[in-house]
Amino acid sequence: MKTQNLTRCSLGYAAAGTLAAGLILTSGCHRGGPDADRDGQPRVALVVKTLNSPFFLDMRRGAESAARELGVNLIVQAAERELDVERQMQIVENLIQTRVDALCLTPSGSKELVPVVRKANRAGIPVLIVDTRLDEATVRNDGAHTACFIGSDNYEGGRIAGTHFGTLFTNQADLVVLEGIPGHETADSRVRGFRDGIRPFPHLRIVASQPANAERDQGFNVMQNMLQAQRGIRGVFAGNDMMALGALEAIRAAGRTDQIRVVGFDAVDEARREIAAGTMEASVAQNPEGMGRLAVETAVKVLRGETVPEYIPVAIELITRPGS
């Protein structure tokens, strides 16, 4: 009886294993398999922070259209969650194993991803940094090397948002700030830019500034708490649109949409709709699609041996309601 159980047990597991194996084989075949240098096309990997955010989906769209035009075999991968730095590191390690020709990376951690950039360097894979800068001191200390940085000036974006509040409110006004993930280069620069942007306007005052980790539900919760604590809020600056949209919901739930103006960052589609409807004030547009496109184009240049500038800026602008 026991031996029979044992046989069944092993059979069951073999079946489970085969099922997984089958799934893998079919998913592999389905995608045509990652053959090395299919038709001699260069293989370029774009590793973003996560693919559940419209910003990175736009970036992927730009990269894909450039890849089609230039005959590049593009691989786009990301961790499930933006905070999962270790997972992003694993993904890059695994891509190094597949010997991609070039790697475009939007690092989830400005310092944490430096060791893996170094691994790519050792494997002779050029690394292009997109959207979020690596920490320069760490890069220098570790002897890592990147081909270039493609992205917009987040500090400048924050500053534009600050200036906008300066002209929007003519009287004394209390503002609150929803910060992104603390210690993140992008998040920090935006808030720093915003603070400097409102500095010339003494009638503006930041009464609360708290992190909401770039997430929509946290933006909602933190905003709800701020509405309880601060009665006179007139404006909100959120370090990204996910938090801004969350805050917008909280303000709507409190029935104060008319009194509080929200400015976000990234100008994702949903934010643009809110702006057009007049419920949201503005959003700083970063053009992620352009970033993705430039990333692939620049990677191709690097692979051809052309020299590329260290910093390739992507234009930044404030999206507001037409005519407002």
Binding site: G12, G22, S27, I91, G109, N213
Partner: protein
């Protein structure tokens, strides 16, 4: 012990191993990059963190408990250790402090469960939030980064060609396997999971041993924190989120029963390897991260379904 009894004893692990080998074979056939020495070493390095956390989880699950706080304890002991490291104190002192924080948090879990009579789910759910909040408060939400080469060697160096995290992982498994199979503590762990009342009545100090079990889980989380911190050259207060789920998955795929009294570390190691190989392989095959989640979830469900079917069979 003749080969037949050996087979019966290890049938469950052999089954998981067969699954792992089938997966490896499929990946070898579908990707030219899978079966290379450097890729397999990469996988061994990547699984080390989850595999080490899963050691403590396995022992906890053998006692019919659960530890949801492993990821948060990992983050807290990581940031505390990193802060000590930045005071330019010797590395061993920082390691001791970091591991001490892990053990202390684990023991608090144990005391809440034994003295406070809280269900393990609730006690460790509370600790999950307390330790996470503690890590965020301690660092004001910012990562603590930049360490000496000596410390970073704990993740970046090799013994012969084997990455150091893998060597540490194997060391932890050998020690814990010994603890679980050759000592009274191990015997008591299985006994408590099998029938706590009977264990208590046979004169075994259930409170003490159970508290130690959760202390051990805190310790393995802290060991994982050492590797993670050295690997990223940074300790993040947000590190280790959802690691408890990966550790539970590795343990359950490896044959442990959430009802307690069952489970082996060899099985858990194979379970962790299976998950690591699956993640690595899905990356090599360029499968999207969304589909990856579906596949990994499916494997966990199938593994437990097979297990359950077998158990009803025996009855």
């Amino acid at each position: 012990m003749n080969w037949k009894t050996w087979l019966i004893h290890h049938g469950r692990q052999l089954g998981t191993l067969a699954g792992l080998l089938a997966l490896g074979l499929a990946l070898t056939l579908s990707s030219p990059y899978f079966l290379t020495v450097s890729n397999l070493l990469t996988v061994l390095e990547q699984v080390s963190i989850n595999a080490i956390v899963a050691v403590g989880m396995t022992v906890v699950i053998i006692t019919a408990g659960i530890d949801l706080s492993v990821g948060s304890i990992l983050a807290l002991s990581g940031v505390v250790m990193a802060t000590v490291l930045q005071q330019q104190l010797p590395v061993p002192i920082a390691l001791l402090v970091g591991l001490g924080v892990g053990v202390a948090c684990g023991m608090v879990n144990g005391l809440l469960i034994t003295l406070g009579r809280l269900p393990p789910f609730i006690a460790t759910l509370g600790m999950m939030s307390v330790a996470r909040g503690g890590a965020l408060l301690f660092t004001e939400g910012r990562p603590v980064s930049g360490f000496s080469d000596g410390f970073r060697a704990l993740a970046g160096s090799q013994v012969w060609v084997i990455p150091m995290p893998t060597v540490i992982m194997l060391g932890v498994y050998v020690l814990a396997h010994f603890l679980l199979t050759r000592t009274r503590f191990g015997l008591y762990a299985y006994a408590m999971g099998g029938n706590e009342q009977a264990t208590h009545l046979s004169g075994i100090n259930v409170r003490l041993n159970k508290t130690l079990v959760y202390g051990l889980s805190g310790l393995t989380s802290a060991i994982a924190a050492v590797i993670l911190t050295a690997r990223l050259n940074s300790a993040q207060p947000t590190a280790g989120m959802t690691y408890e789920l990966d550790a539970i998955a590795a343990t359950v795929i490896g044959g442990a029963s959430l009802m307690g009294g069952q489970g082996t570390l060899v099985g858990t190691l194979i379970g962790a390897l299976l998950m690591g190989v699956l993640r690595n392989g899905l990356n090599l095959l360029e499968v999207s991260s969304f589909l990856q989640q579906v596949i990994i979830g499916g494997v966990i469900i199938v593994a437990v379904l097979v297990d359950m079917a077998l158990k009803t069979d025996k009855k």
